[in-house]
Structures are given as C-alpha cells and as structure tokens.
Symmetry: C2
C-alpha cells in the first residue's frame, strides 16, 4: 500500500482546492476542547422563544403548533430598506442587499433533534422547506434554507430549528456554483452533478447511504472531516417540483444521516447544513441539480473539532483523514441512535 502523502483535491462546485494530509491524523492535541453538550432538556422550556405558546422578544406569541412553525426572524441580517453606500473609487465596491429572514421550528419538542425524531416527524420539515421555498422564490432569486446545529456552530437556541435567508442578489457561493455548473453543461450537455454522481456510484467508496431517490456521500473534495453531500437520483433543480414520495425518502435519508452522525462520537453531532436550489430567476435551470451540503466540524471526538484557522484562512482548507476514510466510518456507523440502543 502507498504511504499516505499530502495532496490537493479540487472542489468542482466552487473551484477551490483542499489540502489533504492523511498522514497527520494522529498528531497529539493539547488545544481547546468543546463541552460535550449532553444535559437533559425538558420537552417544553418556559424561556425558549421557539417553544409553542411562548412569547418572543418582539411581543408576539407562538401558536400551539403541532409539527413545524415558521415566523419572521426578529433579528434578520437583511433589511427591507435600501442603503446607498456609493464610493466614487472603483476599488470600493458596494451593492444594495435587501431581503428577509425566517425561522423554521422543526418540532414543538424543545429537546429533540432531527436525529431523534421519527421519520414521520421529519416529513413535515421537508414539506415546510418546499412550501417556504415555493413562496419565497416567487419574490427572491436566492433563497438559502439552512440549519446551524449545536452551540459550537453558533446556534443560539437549542430548540430544533433552521433558517431561511432570502434576497434578490446571488450570494457568492451560488454565483460560483452556478457558473461552474453552467460551464460544464455548455461543454458536455449534461449536468455536472449528474455526471459526478454516476461516477460516485461506480467508485462506491465515498457513498454513505442510498435509497430509491437519494444518495448521501462524502464528496471527493470534502473539506470538513465528515462533510457530506445529498444528491437526488432523479432530475430536479429546486424544491418547487419535489413530490410527496420524494419528501418521504428525503426524510428517511436525513434521519439515517443524522443518526449516523450522532453515533460516530456518541454525542449530539454539531453541523451546519444547507440547500442549494437553482437561482429562481434563471430561465433555463437544466444545468442545476438540487443538493444539500452538511458541514460538521468534529474531527476526533465529541470535544475535538477541526479548526479552519491560520493556514486555512490565508491559503486554503486543509483536512487530515481522507474523504474515503470518513465515508467508511459513516457507512459503518449504526442506523440506530445510540440513545435508543440501550
């Protein structure tokens, strides 16, 4: 077998390289550790602004909701009004950026995560994504649906929830992914992610899970230790055309993936995840494949994460274990949640 050596891999969606250092996985760690956040939470918490029937900061109160509940973020990053920050020098370039932000409560249960909800209770989350996406994409071309899970991912509320930030302009990542997918389609006449998926199905070594509609895999160019990509097996560019059976199989995929994540280090596995839909104002979306990214930070245990710092900020992302090693660990992880096993 070849001695593991450093090499680079290229992210085909955004043109960024990743430095892979498989030989480095066993360096000692004396640095920061995170608190494994395993205190028991109540099913309803009086102070939580996301729990049913509670009051929010702006005075509104939440209904007695049964599955999901969506409201406008009281502290959204996008304002509805415009600013003119014009500078006469071309190196000082600014743009208006108006839009809106929403919060999606995944469940009335304060103390559950996607990994701990039955598939039947994840289906309404997927349905809500579709519904919100369909409404907002009529108004905004770029609708980001995402979830920050866990305190180390900057999540300020333990109650299971995700967010939507919607705006007219294309964000930096959507702009990059759109250009790359458009260029590939012009050259080959087939969507980039479809060709990519076909090859992954041949290679098999990076596949984590699949069902009739969806594939979960560790991308060849993963930068986070246990990063994954969810890809559809059918043709779809955005949430608007998602069918009921596909929502069911997607809920199954999300359940399996989040359970496997929790099982790797026997903890509530933190991550940021998000959906990349085709920009809504595109006339032709045939180059785009709807997909989700999961970016989880943990590297070696519930308390030791990968830090994307000095070199990564100044140069490029760097990873220790290979994507193939990560996929093997995820494939081997049980589909029964460790808290249910006992």
């Amino acid at each position: 077998m070849q001695k593991p050596a450093s090499h680079r891999r290229k992210n085909q969606l955004n043109d960024e390289w990743i430095l892979v250092s498989p030989h480095r996985n066993n360096r000692p760690w004396h640095g920061a550790t995170e608190q494994a956040n395993e205190q028991a939470l109540p099913v309803h918490e009086g102070e939580c602004p996301l729990c049913p029937r509670n009051d929010r900061v702006n005075g509104a109160s939440n209904p007695d909701y049964q599955d999901t509940y969506v409201f406008t973020n009281d502290f959204g990053a996008l304002t509805e009004y415009r600013v003119n920050d014009d500078h006469e020098h071309p190196l000082f370039e600014s743009q208006e950026a108006t839009g809106m932000a929403k919060v999606i409560c995944f469940s009335p249960k304060h103390n559950k995560t996607l990994a701990q909800l039955p598939v039947s209770e994840i289906v309404p989350v997927v349905q809500t994504w579709k519904k919100e996406y369909s409404a907002l994409s009529a108004e905004f071309s770029c609708v980001h649906i995402f979830e920050n899970k866990g305190e180390i991912m900057g999540c300020s509320q333990p109650h299971p929830h995700g967010q939507i930030w919607a705006h007219q302009h294309y964000s930096t990542e959507i702009e990059k992914e759109n250009k790359k997918q458009q260029a590939y389609f012009s050259e080959h006449g087939r969507p980039l992610l479809k060709d990519y998926l076909r090859q992954e199905l041949k290679d098999k070594i990076r596949i984590v899970y699949e069902n009739s509609d969806w594939i979960v895999l560790v991308p060849y160019w993963a930068k986070w230790p246990f990063e994954t990509l969810i890809l559809p097996k059918f043709d779809i560019a955005d949430f608007t055309s998602l069918e009921q059976t596909q929502m069911q199989t997607l809920a199954e995929s999300l359940s399996v993936l989040t359970i496997k994540y929790d099982n790797i280090f026997k903890c509530s596995f933190p991550y940021s995840m998000g959906w990349h839909n085709a920009p809504a104002d595109l006339e032709d979306k045939s180059h785009w494949v709807l997909h989700a990214h999961f970016f989880p930070p943990l590297l070696r245990s519930a308390s030791v994460k990968k830090h994307m710092v000095g070199y990564e900020m100044m140069a490029e992302s760097q990873r220790d274990l290979t994507p193939e090693q990560a996929a093997t660990i995820l494939r081997d992880a049980s589909t029964v949640h460790y808290k249910q096993e006992s």
Copy 2:
C-alpha cells in the same frame, strides 16, 4: 443620518462579497460563550514542547534560545514524498502537494504574547520571518507565514509561536490574489493595493494606526468584526528586501495593533494572522504589494465571537458592525496594554 441597512461589499483581493448588517449588532445572545483564558502561566513550563531546554515529541531537545527559535514541525501537513491519486474522470481532480512546515517560537517566555513583548523583542520575530522567508522562497514558490493565537483559533500550545507552511503550488488564496492584482496592474499600470491605500489615506475613516513605513487599517471589505490589514507605504513585494529600519517600524506597528486588540475586551485577543508575499517564482512582481491580514473572531466581548456558520458557509460571509465602526473602536483603544495600566 441614514437608517443603517444591509448591503454588500466586495473584497478586491479575492472577488468575494461580504454581507454587512449594521442594524443587527444588538440582537440578544444566548449561544456559546468562550472561556476567557486568563489563567496565569509560568515564564517556563516543564511540559511545553516550545520552551527552551525542553524535549519535543520526536526526542529532539530545544536549545537554550534567547529570542526566537525555529524548528521543523513534527506534525507538518505537507509531506516531502509524493502520492499519485489519479482518477480517470475529469471531475475528480487531484494534484501533488509536497512541502514542509516549521514552527517559530517568538520568545523564550512561555507566558508572553506579541502584545506583551517590548518592541525590542518583536524585532527579532520580524527578522526571523525575513530570514526564513528568504531561505524557503529559494526552494518553494508559496511560503505562508502565519500565527494562530488563542485556543479558539485552534492553537494547541500557549507558548507564543507562529508557523510556516511552504510548498511549490500556489494556494487557493494566493492564486486569487495574484490574479486580481495582476489584472488591476495590466489595466491601470499601478498596483491595486497602492491605489487602494492612497484612497484609504484620503478617506481616513478606516485607518487604525500609521507610522513612517506602515499603515494598519480595517479594510472596506473586512469580513471578521475587527479584521485588519497591514500595508507598507513603500514599494515591496516580499520579505526578502525588507530593511532594518522597516523591521523596526513593523515591530512597532505589530506592538500597537496587538495591544489595541487586547484592550478592546480586556483579554488576550485571539486571532489568526498571516503574510501574503508575492509568489517566489514570479519573474515580474510589480503588481504585488506585501501585506498581512489579521482575522480575529471576537465580536462583542471576550467570550462572544462571530460564528461563520450556516449562511456564511452556504452563501457568503456576513458581519454585524460596519468596518468603519470597528476602525473607530480600534483607533480609540489605548496603546498602553490594560495589564500595564494598573
């Protein structure tokens, strides 16, 4: 006065946009807080692999060094040997990446940071950067000199130190900055960062500090709350031509900046910083201006940092206070370290 509204600003060095949300600075925070790491450390620590006279993991022992000390990283991310990870499909793109990594101890004193060293003891750090850069750039075209400071920046050793990662290929960021600076130079016949600096000197509102040779400013496109850029007032593309007086004034700039950082929240202010030198193999470096980036994560207190998570990972960086507000806070911060005041 205009109501603060969200807008975007463009980073001219890497073409990425940043979402600015000045209205959002006072949202409540119930999320993760970091431990303010203020325990008193000894001047020499028996277990520290960076202290003078101590043993390292590989069995070598450190000399009784007096100012700086450089050694090869025992757990470098770059190997000297190559790997061939060839995949026949063009969407699976990899590259060899060989190189080396070094550690630079800034001082024999285990319990000091740049902010706490007198300028006379920072000068040897700058001299060491120049010396190492000059030697390594003869062999590698891309030499990254950087420092991760503080546990939350993944720094695994409190002993004051920085790192060097050197390799033949251009890293993603260097590639981008090189392209942007080259394009600007072809069009205007002047370096991008020189024109940028001239305008900043007119605007004044983002300048933090200047002396006869150097300027410290919060860039117009800063993504981290208190991000800064160090720019030379004289023509220089890389460390090799740095003169003795310029090293002295640079040490002064570093001292002032790191003291101001510590004073904002009265804590040892974490950051990642790094130098961007012109790629060493370029024949013509006239478009490139040597510069340093400081990326500090703290946002609102010693324990509340900005999390670059969901939206930032899936879309683009987002900041709350404006670069101009951050520059005002830094300008107003004292140049006497808060621990010395009392």
